[in-house]
Every structure is written in structure tokens, then in C-alpha cells.
């Protein structure tokens, strides 16, 4: 909370002194007396008290589960829970950083008596992802306008515009428990794998009786073993990932987060273990797990961790982030990579969401794969071909995708503007085994 003096009345002393001075010099008592009016106004700002701001805020949406591009009416209700009247209250609502106001204004001004409420509404264009509202900024002035209190009022509001993905392409790196990832190992399952010579102890139900009847040989049928996978969704939120195709569009980190959210839901519905990790401002980690509580923990981490913020780094942050030697602990991809490698179990696989704008992240993906962690890359494409630099960046991205594919890392090339992630993932599913 900041309290400041606006100094709006500063000139009034000059007026009072001027009138008084002229009155004295010209020896006109009436003019001198007029100076008293000025003096009264000069004293007035000192008689009012600093406003005490205690507010409750509440937001409602016209549509709780909008589709991408829908207009959503946001109704904001502000109540004065303090004991004094707020004579000059200005509110600027904290529209989520990745949403655009399409109609109306998130700014509102009111006079609010104790206990009273005021309401205003505006329209935002929904974009894919979970959008958390930021605290509303409140500026309250006293009746004379001399003292100004600037503060924020917060309430947790989230506008969720989530798509669904039917399935996440998983690679063959599994835990021991049975699940739904079909492996190349023989055992019990549904899909036929091979037949082999009978070994003592094989279950009777798996013996190929028809063959036995025909030839007298005892053979055992093996099915593809179905196991659970342990998947870590890794979001690239490094400084280089905060890139957007155009100024008014969501950046790649926002797209990656929306994608991670969808895959998280899809994976939680299966028996697979799913974890969450992020590199960027700091290393964020949630070990793979299952169950509704785990899902809640994942959502909370996505919503609150500074790593998963969609707000691009400020100039100063960016400078420390692109520190050429990586001397800065935060933002340092290498140390975060080491941390990730340490925490990943031997059986976990990684789905990396990255726009592939940085060579460091490419190195990380290759390093993970080389160390035995299976990696799948899902890459939102935010390059544009309008400038030379843009075309160069697109070429670099293509080169990186090729490098990944050469290392047998499947890459899902996803254009978030035109394609649904689910479609792209299904298309990739055929290639991933």
C-alpha cells in the first residue's frame, strides 16, 4: 500500500499570499481580506484524513467455460467493508496478462459509502489456457484530493478455457505396474506379441491349445505387456521462450502452459503417473503421482509458481537471464537441467513443451535423451515470416527440429493458432512407439 501526497493544492498558497500582498502594498483592506479566502483553501487540505481502504472484490463470468475466441463478460463487484466513506475511489481490474479487453473498460470510479457495493462489467476475448486474474489496482483519494492511497485488492479468480486432448503420445519407458502403455515386452495383456516354447510355470490359459492339438508341441502365447508410464511435463519458460508471433498474441510460454494443462488432464484420466516441471525464472518441480489430490497440487503449481508466469521478463530480468556466461543462478538453464536430471527417476519420461527458440533447450533435450530419459517434444510454433529475422528464426527452429528427430526424439510441430493440440498429438501418436 502506498500513501502519497498529491500536492494538488500547492498553488493556492501563492494565490492567498499574492492577494494579501497586493492588499497590503496597495493599502486596500478589502483586497487584504480577500486573501483570507485563499488562506482558508490552503488550510483545507490539511483538515482531511487519509482514506482507509478496506474492500472486497468479486468477479463473475457470463460464461464459465468459454471456447477459444469467445467473448466473456466479466462482472466485477466491489464492496466497501470499511467504516468510512470512500469519496474518490478508482479501480483498475487486473485483467489476466494474456487476455484482451474487447468491449467496455476494466476501469471504474465510484463514491462508496460503508457497506455499499458498486458494480461494473467489461468483455474479454477468451484464449486457450487457464487465466488467473491479477489483483485489482485501487486508488482512493480523500475528499480534498490531497492524500492518495494506492493499493491492490485480490481474490482468486480464474477463467478457464481449456480444450481437451484425447491422448498423449507416450514413449516406451515405463514403470513396473500394469497400465495402458503397450510395451514391446511379452507377458500378459491384450495385443498379441509372439509365441514361444512352453516353459515350466507358464499359466495354462496362455498355452496355445490348438497348436498342441495339431502338432503336439506345447507353446505359450505372449501378449504385449501393458504398463504405466511416469510422465513429467516439462515447460520451457526460459527468457527466450517468451516470444509471440505478433504483439497482440499470446506468447509461446502461454501456449505451452495451455498445452501442459490439457495433457495433464488427459494423463490424469489414465493410470499413468504424471509430474510437472518448469525451467525459467527458477526450477519448478512436482514429482509424478496420481489421484485427485495430486491433480490439485499440479493445478496450484501451474497457477502460482513464478516459473509458470505468462508475463514476459522485464528488461532487467531479461538482461540477467541472457547473462552470457550463465553466471546468474536464476534463469540458468544448465543448472536447472542438472537439477531436473537429478530428480527424474530412472523410469520417468519427459514431454517437453518448448517453442525451440533457444539452443540451450535443444541441448537439454538431447542431454536428457542421451542420459536414458525418453523425451517427446511438443513445440508451439510462434515464428512469423514477415521479417528477415523472423524467417531466420523459423529456419533455426526447423534445423533444431531436425536435430531432435535425428536423435530419435519425436517432435510435435504445433501451430497454436490454427491447430488444436489434440489433433496434432493424435497425428504424432502414429509415429511414436
Amino acid at each position: 500500500m502506498t500513501v502519497r501526497r498529491t500536492r494538488r493544492w500547492r498553488g493556492i498558497v501563492a494565490v492567498a499570499l499574492f492577494v494579501g500582498g497586493v492588499g497590503v502594498v496597495a493599502a486596500r483592506p478589502l483586497v487584504l481580506l480577500l486573501g483570507v479566502v485563499g488562506a482558508a483553501f490552503a488550510a483545507y487540505p490539511h483538515l482531511t484524513a487519509t482514506p482507509e481502504v478496506r474492500l472486497d472484490i468479486e468477479r463473475r463470468f457470463g460464461d464459465d467455460s468459454p471456447d477459444d475466441g469467445d467473448d466473456v463478460v466479466v462482472t466485477v463487484r466491489v464492496q466497501n467493508t470499511g467504516d468510512s466513506t470512500l469519496t474518490d475511489l478508482r479501480i483498475v481490474d487486473g485483467v489476466p496478462p494474456m487476455l484482451t479487453v474487447s468491449d467496455g473498460s476494466p476501469r471504474h470510479a465510484a463514491v462508496l459509502r460503508p457497506g455499499k457495493t458498486t458494480e461494473f462489467e467489461y468483455t474479454v476475448g477468451a484464449a486457450r489456457g487457464r487465466h488467473r486474474f491479477e489483483p485489482a489496482t485501487v486508488v482512493a483519494r480523500d475528499v480534498a484530493g490531497t492524500r492518495e492511497v494506492e493499493t491492490t485488492v485480490d481474490t482468486e479468480t480464474e477463467l478457464a478455457c481449456t480444450g481437451t486432448v484425447p491422448e498423449v503420445p507416450l514413449r516406451q519407458q515405463t514403470e513396473q505396474q500394469s497400465g495402458r502403455v503397450i510395451t514391446d515386452e511379452g507377458g500378459s495383456g491384450i495385443e498379441f506379441h509372439q509365441t514361444r516354447e512352453y516353459r515350466h510355470g507358464d499359466p495354462m490359459s496362455r498355452i496355445d491349445w490348438k497348436r498342441h492339438a495339431k502338432t503336439g508341441e506345447l507353446t505359450t502365447i505372449e501378449f504385449r505387456e501393458e504398463r504405466t508410464a511416469s510422465v513429467v511435463l516439462l515447460v520451457d519458460a526460459t527468457a527466450d521462450a517468451y516470444r509471440a508471433r505478433r504483439a497482440d498474441e499470446q506468447n509461446a510460454v502461454a501456449h505451452s502452459l495451455a498445452g501442459a494443462e490439457q495433457m495433464l488432464t488427459a494423463l490424469s484420466n489414465t493410470r499413468n503417473f504424471v509430474g510437472l516441471a518448469g525451467i525459467g525464472r527458477e526450477f519448478a518441480w512436482l514429482a509424478p503421482g496420481t489421484g485427485p489430490e495430486h491433480g490439485d497440487a499440479a493445478s496450484t503449481l501451474l497457477a502460482t509458481s513464478p516459473t509458470f508466469s505468462t508475463i514476459p521478463p522485464s528488461e532487467s530480468e531479461r538482461e540477467s537471464g541472457s547473462g552470457k556466461n550463465g553466471e546468474n543462478e536464476e534463469w540458468d538453464v544448465q543448472s536447472q537441467h542438472a537439477e531436473l536430471q537429478r530428480r527424474l527417476g530412472s523410469n520417468a519420461q519427459v514431454v517437453l513443451l518448448t517453442p525451440l527458440t533457444s539452443p540451450d533447450v535443444l541441448t537439454m533435450a538431447l542431454g536428457l535423451e542421451a542420459n536414458g530419459t525418453r523425451v517427446t517434444v511438443v513445440s508451439p510454433d510462434v515464428t512469423n515470416e514477415e521479417t528477415v529475422g523472423g524467417r531466420l528464426a523459423a529456419t533455426e527452429r526447423e534445423n533444431r527440429m531436425r536435430t531432435l528427430r535425428e536423435s530419435r526424439i519425436p517432435v510435435v510441430d504445433w501451430n497454436p493458432e490454427t491447430d488444436r493440440l489434440g489433433t496434432e498429438l493424435l497425428r504424432a501418436q502414429e509415429g511414436v512407439a
Partner: protein
Amino acid sequence: MRARTPVVVLGVAVFALALGVLLTPGLGGAIPVADAVDAAGSDYKLFVVFGAVALLLVLVVVGLRAVGGQAQATPPDPEHVRTAPAPGAEFDSVVGGGVGLREQLFGDERERVRGRLRETATQTVMRRENCGRETARERVENGTWTDDRDAAAFVGGERGPSPPVSSRVTAALRGRSWFQHGARRAAEEIVGTSDRRVTDGGRRTEDDR
């Protein structure tokens, strides 16, 4: 506020004194007004001093107002998406605006841009020719990867071609440095090389990218 307190105290004291003089005439007699008037010459001359001081203070206050201005909150602008630069925007700014003088003399920005272009050229040649890294590197170093002499000279090594004088002159005439001109040509050529491969392969289309 604290700086004002003595002034306020003084003001209250003077006001109290004035009230006192009005209510108890005896107190008025105690103030040597007559002597002061005699010393000044006339009562007008005595009062005009107060008036002049007031007018001087006007100048001070007006000056303070002009310097200090008003202080007020600057509310945020939440209406639009928090903007992020487009991929490749840094390259555009280096090529378009060049690097600052200080960076030119002491920085390694130019070398970084050149290194990045060299690496991308190598990768692209690898992709186009389906060759190994060494071969591609070799071709970029000696400038045989492209027909464009400017681009070849910009990313080429010591054994590569030197930039034609005519290009340097053309660049200078357009108000660009050789660095800016060369970087732009190299980037365009790399992108062109990449696209050519795309058409040759015929597998990937514009939509895929």
C-alpha cells in the same frame, strides 16, 4: 510534514497574539508599534515590508509548484496482452539499427550474430545436402554453399571469399554498414537455401511450418 511544523506553530502563535490584542487592549500597548512606525517614517512604509515579503514568497511557491508538479498514481494498462518480442526481433534490430558505438568498439554482439548465422548456415547445409557436420562446416567456411558472394563472405572463414568492394560501396550508399548488409544477405540466403530444400524434397509445405 515535519518541516512544516515550526511554521504552523509560528502561525498559531501569531494568531493567538492577535486575538489577545483584540480582547485585552492592555496587551496591545505593550507592543512598541509607535516606535516602529517612527523608525520607518510612516505606517505605510512599515506595512509595505510585509506585503513585499508576501509577494516574494509567491515567487518561491510558484517556483516550487513548477518544479515539483503533482504526484499521483499511474494505474496499470491491463486492456491488452502483455507483449513479447517476435522470434528473431533481436536480429532485425541489429540489422536494421546496427549496434551502438560502445558495443561496436568493446562488445561482442557482432561476433555473436556472425557466429549464430554461421551455425545456422552449417545446419541448413547439413539439412539440404544431407551431409555430415564437417562437410557442411567446410562448405560454409570456404563459401561454396551459396552463389551469393556477400553472404558467403560474411559467414565464411579466413579461407573464404572476401567481400566484393562493390557491395561495400552499395551498402555505404544505402547508409548501412558492411556488417548490416552482410548479415541481412546471409540471413536471406540461409532462409532461401532452407526453402529450396523444402521444394526439392516436396514433402513439407508452407502450411507445415
